[in-house]
């Protein structure tokens, strides 16, 4: 397909670290490799990360000067982003925007503004949400409003898609029979991926002694120590596992509000020499922590995709996880043991896993090879490209269709959003008049990869002569 100019819009990006941040970076890098032009638009970070920065490989990042309110998200204000957005989209000649994460107001606002410049929209949802508490009801309504006029939605797992379809009410009237509804055809599932070479198992496989029993089984846990990650289960199950298996050790990485409970548990059961708490672990060090052990334990209570599980499996660890969210979809049954989110069941699954591993039935290098075959960022980029292609080929909705679709939100919310939509158009006209397109500083020079390589080679030759 023809190269596109894509803008990734989200509140969650480097220098923060996390699943969404990494996903956006890897996807952008692979789209760049395929010849597209990609920029990222996000909010600024204290103290001085504001303005335009370049990241390797030739990824341009716009850090807009917006203060954040909570969990690194900006205030949802619907209009204030438009002046920046218009200028950036026009000067970069963007043809498609890709918003990420449902709790990112910047992304939702981008979807709202894009049609003014004839730009197409794609949205990726990364997380699962419930339907019962007041916060979910509110954020789900905001999401529904944003997704009424988006051109395509991508979810990271099948469970995630079911969740997003329900939250965003992504149903369309069918053509044959207008009284029935069906899920709209523009909802895609494209999983995350990982760079398998960054997660290699530690030792070279010892072919001469395949049944050599490891003297000590180390269990690794790397997670934010929060309620949602099921640390209560870990606190309850770890002492039982330690007393049942004298050859088991724990290595726990990460920090969070539940750290004190872990420390108390360790002290109460006198397990200081068997449970090691590492504190926060940088993403680049995760592999080194993982390869210290042979079993990875994940006790999350909800998980959309579970990239940490995948990284552990790739590093050759046997995985034990709670059966929640999208976790059952990501690995074949023989590479992972499931437990229900109950103390007894976690203990049972861990006992089985310890038996499997200490009998030498789990081959780390084989596991690594298999995971390497399952997930690849290049494939993810290719599948995302197909979504882009279908969006570009489809017809764009006109303003009247947008208003009509927005009114479907309900008699109260619909009216509010129509007002926002129309005021936004007026605001855009004012901007067209006050900042005319002729006065913008258009970007004509792009990062030329071949030229960059040529230059760096020339430079290298020069230094070698000296």
């Amino acid at each position: 397909m023809d190269p596109l100019s894509i803008a990734m819009i989200t509140d969650f990006f480097h220098p923060n670290v996390g699943g969404v941040e990494n996903h956006i970076f890897m996807l952008s890098a692979n789209l760049l490799r395929k010849g597209h032009k990609v920029i990222v638009i996000t909010h600024s970070h204290d103290p001085d990360r504001v303005g335009i920065r370049w990241m390797l490989p030739s990824l341009k990042v716009y850090y807009l000067p917006y203060p954040t309110i909570a969990s690194s998200a900006t205030l949802p204000n619907y209009f204030t982003f438009l002046p920046y957005f218009r200028t950036i989209i026009l000067r970069e000649h963007i043809t498609l925007i890709h918003a990420h994460a449902s709790l990112s107001p910047l992304g939702q606002e981008g979807i709202l503004h894009a049609h003014l410049m004839g730009v197409r929209t794609v949205f990726t949802d990364h997380s699962l949400f419930g339907f019962e508490d007041a916060a979910s009801i509110l954020t789900n309504k905001l999401l529904e409003a944003a997704l009424k006029n988006v051109d395509a939605v991508i979810c990271v797992s099948h469970i995630g898609r079911e969740n997003t379809v329900l939250r965003g009410q992504l149903f369309e009237k069918t053509d044959e029979d207008p009284s029935t509804v069906a899920v709209s055809g523009n909802v895609f599932v494209i999983p995350n991926a990982l760079v398998a070479d960054q997660f290699k198992p530690s030792q070279i496989p010892d072919v001469s002694q395949p049944s050599s029993k490891p003297l000590c089984v180390t269990i690794v846990v790397i997670s934010r120590l929060a309620y949602r990650k099921g640390i209560d289960l870990l606190v309850a199950a770890a002492p039982r596992i330690c007393s049942a298996f004298p050859n088991v050790k724990f290595v726990i990485g990460g920090t969070g509000p539940k750290l004190n409970e872990l420390l108390q548990m360790r002290e109460k059961h006198l397990l200081q020499d068997r449970i090691e708490l590492l504190g926060p672990v940088r993403h680049s060090d995760v592999r080194d922590v993982l390869v210290r052990g042979s079993i990875f334990l994940n006790t999350s209570l909800t998980e959309s995709f579970g990239i940490a599980i995948l990284e552990a499996a790739c590093a050759g660890l046997y995985v034990v996880s709670t059966r929640v969210g999208g976790v059952p979809e990501i690995l074949p049954e023989d590479m992972i043991s499931f437990a229900n989110p109950e103390e007894d069941d976690v203990f049972r699954a861990m006992s089985e896993a310890i038996t499997i591993v200490s009998q030498g039935k789990h081959d780390p290098w084989n596991a690594h090879k298999r995971v390497k075959g399952f997930y690849d960022w290049f494939q993810v980029a290719e599948r995302t490209e197909k979504v882009y292609e279908s969006v570009i080929k489809s017809d764009q909705r006109d303003l009247w269709t947008r208003i009509r679709r927005t009114m479907e939100l309900g008699p109260f919310a619909g009216l509010i959003y129509v007002v926002i939509l129309i005021v936004n158009c007026v605001f855009f006209l004012i901007l067209e008049w006050s900042i005319p397109r002729e006065d913008l500083h258009f970007v004509w020079m792009h990062w030329n990869r071949d030229y960059f390589i040529e230059l760096s080679q020339k430079e290298a030759r020069k230094t070698s002569f000296i």
Binding site: G130, G185, D232, T302, G325, E343, D344
Partner: protein
């Protein structure tokens, strides 16, 4: 389309397009209203009796206040009525408790109750001249507004749940706040009265109605249904009768609110249940089960 079966996995490259929606699997694990137990009308009416009783108590208190203020009720009579109610209520309380506690402890409790009730009685009597002038400098308009607000707070925060049989009575923060609001309200109203004895009678009555009666009410709620209904009817009729001679309009409003709370509101709740749509699925945050 290929003959290969679609699987709900991400690790396998499948020959279906990414937006393929398998009719058989999609939203298969969605459950609607899984733990839904529909309310029926009459149990709800019975449960709302507690609210009606509380509202009726407030109305009775207000009627008594107005009568005291207009000097159409002798404060001494009110004191005697309050003491009689206290003794009656205490006997009822003991009767309800007699099945579960031993005699020795009950006797000790009885002496303690007698001691503290005399103490409260004397303390209120000593304090009533002070309470009478406490907010005398504030204008009456502010007092009406303040006491109305405090009574609303009292009705909103009160604990309407029945007491657990055999369990220790545990006061929740909101019910303590509710009681405080009502007592403060009667204190500020007391400053509008003309003599010290009337203030004393009013405060004693308010302690009776808003501190002691809710405890007895909670205990009664756990017993026979017929008691509940009779008590509700009695209190409602009493509040309306007491108000009727003062103002017909107000007593109509009172009657309307009592009927609305007892009979109309439960009906609305039963009707609104058909809109209940609770969605549950594998994306919900699991509840960890720890022994």
């Amino acid at each position: 389309m290929s003959a290969e079966e679609w699987e709900k996995v991400l690790w396998k490259t499948q020959s279906y397009p990414d937006n393929h929606i398998p009719a058989r699997y999609f939203l298969a694990s969605l459950r609607k209203n899984p733990n839904f137990r529909p309310y029926t009308y009459w149990p709800l009416v019975l449960a709302s009796c507690a609210i009606t009783q509380h509202l009726a108590t407030i109305y009775i208190f207000l009627a008594v206040f107005v009568r005291l203020k207009e000097c159409s009720l002798d404060p001494r009579i009110l004191v005697w009525i309050t003491v009689a109610c206290f003794i009656g209520g205490y006997l009822a309380w003991e009767l309800l408790n007699c099945s579960r506690s031993d005699t020795a402890r009950r006797n000790a409790n009885g002496t303690k109750t007698l001691k503290s009730s005399i103490l409260v009685f004397l303390a209120l009597m000593a304090l009533s001249p002070v309470l009478k002038t406490l907010t005398a400098a504030t204008s009456s308009d502010s007092i009406w507004a303040l006491s109305a607000f405090l009574f609303m707070l009292n009705a909103l925060l009160a604990d309407y749940s029945p007491a657990k049989l055999g369990g220790q009575v545990r006061e929740r923060l909101t019910s303590v706040l509710s009681m405080n609001a009502a007592i403060s309200s009667s204190v500020v109203l007391g400053s509008r009265l003309s003599d010290g004895l009337a203030v004393f009678a009013l405060i004693l009555f308010s302690v009776q109605a808003f501190a002691l009666f809710p405890m007895l009410r909670q205990r009664l709620q756990a017993t026979l249904t017929i008691f509940q209904a009779l008590l509700t009817l009695l209190l409602s009729l009493l509040s309306i009768c007491l108000t009727a001679s003062l103002s017909a309009t107000v007593s109509c409003i009172y009657a309307a609110t009592l009927v609305a709370v007892t009979f109309v509101a439960p009906g609305i709740l039963v009707w609104a249940q058909k809109y209940k749509n609770e969605i549950r699925g594998p994306w919900d945050v699991a509840v960890p089960k720890v022994n």
